[in-house]
């Protein structure tokens, strides 16, 4: 394949399960942001899940089966980029661990690991991109999702990118770095504990007075949005990418909560 010298990197977009089913708009936002920054974006059709549910449930064999599938689907791209710190931390950190005793797959896992990026850190740290002329009218508070924060060091990048959005005011909440209680299957296996945790998160969100919550992982966002909706709190919830791409113009996750009856 010949590449023209002006063409940017060829990126395979990792379409996470939750994004694919619950929030296609996040996928289109990711594509827009990457293309605006000069990337060629493709979405391989032979991808499904990164394997994390198997890995975190202790089924390492299942996780390896899924990891091999992801490696095969994406290893020919310059980068694999996904709008989730959680899935991308699995690919970056866990794949090499899963294949540590496998001389055939370990080099392939390592190679993919090295070119795997969470969307916002890819935009900020690799492409040094700024969102072009996006606008969002509102006060936004940001939730640090745990895998992105502690696994991939994502903290400053989304905030810096959000700072470029016209009209957007960022208001930090207390304990933005504390887990919201999602935790994959945790939230349905231990619903009462999860409820207590998301209740604390919602209290901190509401205390900021922000009208919008953003974050980088749909699992957390669906948990918090679902709880906000349950308690009738009128806070809109978007993935950071939607706001940056200027595609946060429709209803947020869980629809627009009723302002008043």
């Amino acid at each position: 394949m010949t590449e023209s010298p002006t063409r940017g990197p060829r990126v395979g977009l990792f379409a996470t399960c939750l994004m694919n089913v619950f929030r296609p708009n996040v996928g289109f936002s990711a594509v827009k942001l990457l293309e605006d920054a000069g990337c060629t974006v493709e979405v391989p059709a032979n991808q499904t899940c990164c394997g994390q549910p198997g890995y975190n449930s202790g089924d390492y064999d299942a996780a390896r089966a899924l990891a091999r599938q992801v490696i095969e689907a994406f290893e020919n791209y310059d980068y694999i980029v996904g709008p989730s710190g959680s899935c991308m931390a699995t690919i970056r950190h866990d794949y090499p661990v899963l294949f540590q005793d496998d001389p055939v797959w370990l080099p392939r896992a390592q190679a993919l690991s090295e070119k795997s990026w969470e969307l916002l850190s890819f935009l900020a740290d690799v492409l040094h991109a700024a969102p072009s002329d996006s606008r969002y009218e509102g006060t936004v508070t940001y939730h640090d999702s745990c895998s992105g924060l502690r696994g991939l060091g994502i903290k400053g990048q989304p905030r810096a990118l959000l700072g470029e959005v016209d009209g957007l005011k960022l208001k930090e909440m207390e304990d933005s770095e504390v887990c919201c209680g999602f935790g994959g299957t945790f939230c349905v296996k231990y619903p009462e504990i999860s409820e207590k945790m998301v209740e604390d998160k919602v209290r901190n969100v509401l205390a900021t007075g922000a009208d919008t919550l953003v974050g980088g992982d749909l699992g957390c966002l669906m948990n918090i949005a679902g709880r906000l909706k349950r308690v009738n709190a009128p806070v809109k919830v978007f993935h950071t990418a939607e706001v940056l791409a200027g595609l946060a113009d429709g209803p947020g996750l869980a629809g627009a909560a009723k302002e008043s009856e």
Binding site: N20, A65, Y190, S194, E195
Partner: protein, 468 residues
């Protein structure tokens, strides 16, 4: 102490609805976390110290036999005795034998998690001895007949009002309501016990191989009175607590206080070496150290070796949102929180504590504050892996994983099911979300399920860009 970790789920729900507990936990959580953060901010080399501590511990664990032998020789040279206990039963017997030999009536105790681990108090009381906990927190829960709920703040689950009630009932009133008055009342009651004590038992935060010394840290000075005023001093400690030199001990002391209570240093750091010497003004006539294995050497040989770096500071539980929600008693044994969720299954059996490694979101906050950098989430996941391999994982979950694997390794089938799911959920949604979903009540009991738009991203993408 009897293990009740199998009841984790029921106990955690109970804890969440216990208003007193929630008041106490809320206060404690912010206190410890905030104070630690201030101390860390004031010590630029804190991260370097963590790395150094991790490496030093790894070196010790790689040479544990050597340092333990040196330690034993040094204790013996100073006139003390070292006893080796393979398990809890042996440890209890060793201590009971010493107490019986000196005809002990009253035994005072400084804080020792190992003594909880081996069920020491029950054994001493069964043999007719009066056991008095002298750490204020331990004293409070002894009056309440409860186990500790935190490894450094055993009564952290109690409110001040509850303590007032306990003291009034035990000491006969009048009821005190101010903290200084409560502390003074305990001090007066305990003072008398120190002088009566035949045997004083303490833990050992660090055991120094070069000098044969045991080091304890307290904020109340109770450990000093326990170990110097009784005729016999017994130290109970895990075999992993040995450090090569006093210099090494200072490295860990700098990390311990900051990580645990958010202090630069604890009020008292006490180093004891052997029994009273002829020229000493006070001190015990006998000095014993009971070194407890109880599953530790097995950990040393396997993939959980890193857990033996633990210096029992409690930072992991202070920063754990699950511990913060349910408190320590829900975990059902001696060690709660992240470190307890690793240790309990390893010491008491994987099947006796199924929930502990699973009741965790793997958010990683514990590992990010651990002063010896134990990768707690990785160890918890490893325990899940062992549960899966040993068929301790519930059958339904294993079945679900099999189905998931079958479908997820077939992209076309997976995408078709995703499309069906997206359409179905979108069709049953009202006003952007779903309030009740019978097979997903774990989700919808607590929160709405945000509704999908109807078509999946991959469908829409293929429609737009026409890619294969």
């Amino acid at each position: 102490m009897e293990i009740r970790s199998k009841e984790f789920k029921q106990r955690s729900v109970f804890a969440i609805h216990d208003a007193n507990l929630q008041t106490a936990l809320g206060r404690a959580r912010y206190g410890f976390v905030g104070k630690r953060a201030l101390q860390v901010a004031e010590l630029p080399e804190f991260e370097r110290l963590r790395e150094e501590a991790k490496n030093t511990k790894n070196h010790i664990l790689d040479n544990l036999d050597h340092y333990l032998e040196r330690y034993e020789a040094a204790v013996t040279a100073a006139g003390g005795h070292v006893h080796w206990a393979r398990d809890a039963e042996e440890a209890r017997k060793i201590i009971l034998d010493i107490c019986k030999r000196v005809d002990a009536k009253t035994v005072t105790k400084g804080k020792s998690m190992v003594s909880e681990e081996i069920g020491l108090n029950e054994a001493l009381i069964e043999n007719g001895m009066e056991v008095v906990e002298t750490d204020l927190g331990e004293y409070i829960i002894q009056l309440a007949h409860e186990p500790p709920s935190h490894i450094i703040a055993p009564a952290v689950h109690k409110t001040k009002d509850q303590v007032s009630d306990l003291f009034e009932a035990a000491h006969g009133g009048p009821r005190k309501t101010e903290v200084p008055d409560l502390v003074n009342e305990a001090r007066l009651v305990l003072r008398d016990k120190y002088f009566k004590a035949d045997v004083g038992i303490t833990g050992g935060n660090f055991l120094v191989a070069e000098t044969g010394s045991s080091i304890i840290v307290t904020n109340e000075g109770n450990g000093d009175l326990t170990q110097t005023l009784a005729k016999v001093h017994i130290v109970t400690s895990g075999i992993e607590r040995v450090v090569p030199t006093l210099d090494d001990a200072t490295l860990f002391l700098r990390l311990l206080a900051r990580s645990a209570t958010g202090q630069e240093t604890e009020t008292y750091t006490t180093i004891s070496t052997g029994p009273r010497r002829a020229e000493d003004l006070d001190g015990p006539e006998e000095y014993h150290v009971v070194l407890v294995d109880n599953g530790r050497s097995k950990m040393l040989a396997g993939r959980f070796k890193e857990m033996l770096r633990c210096i029992r500071c409690g930072a992991c539980m202070n920063h754990c949102p699950v511990y913060g929600a349910v408190g320590g008693h829900a975990y059902g044994w001696v060690y709660p929180g992240p470190m307890g969720s690793v240790l309990t299954p390893l010491i008491k059996g994987l099947d006796n504590a199924y929930d502990l490694p699973n009741a965790c979101t793997l958010n990683g906050r514990c590992a990010s504050v651990c002063p010896v950098k134990i990768p707690l989430p990785d160890l918890l996941r490893e325990l899940r892996h062992m549960q899966h391999q040993q068929d301790i994982t519930p059958v339904m979950q294993k079945r679900a994983l099999k189905v998931w694997r079958y479908v997820a390794t077939r992209p076309k089938l997976y995408h078709a099911l995703e499309q069906v799911g997206a359409r179905f959920l979108s069709a049953i949604a009202k006003n952007g979300s779903i309030r009740r979903l019978p097979l997903a009540s774990g989700w919808t009991d607590v929160r709405d399920l945000p509704a999908p738009a109807g078509r999946t991203f991959l469908e829409l993408w293929q429609g737009k860009r026409g890619q294969k």
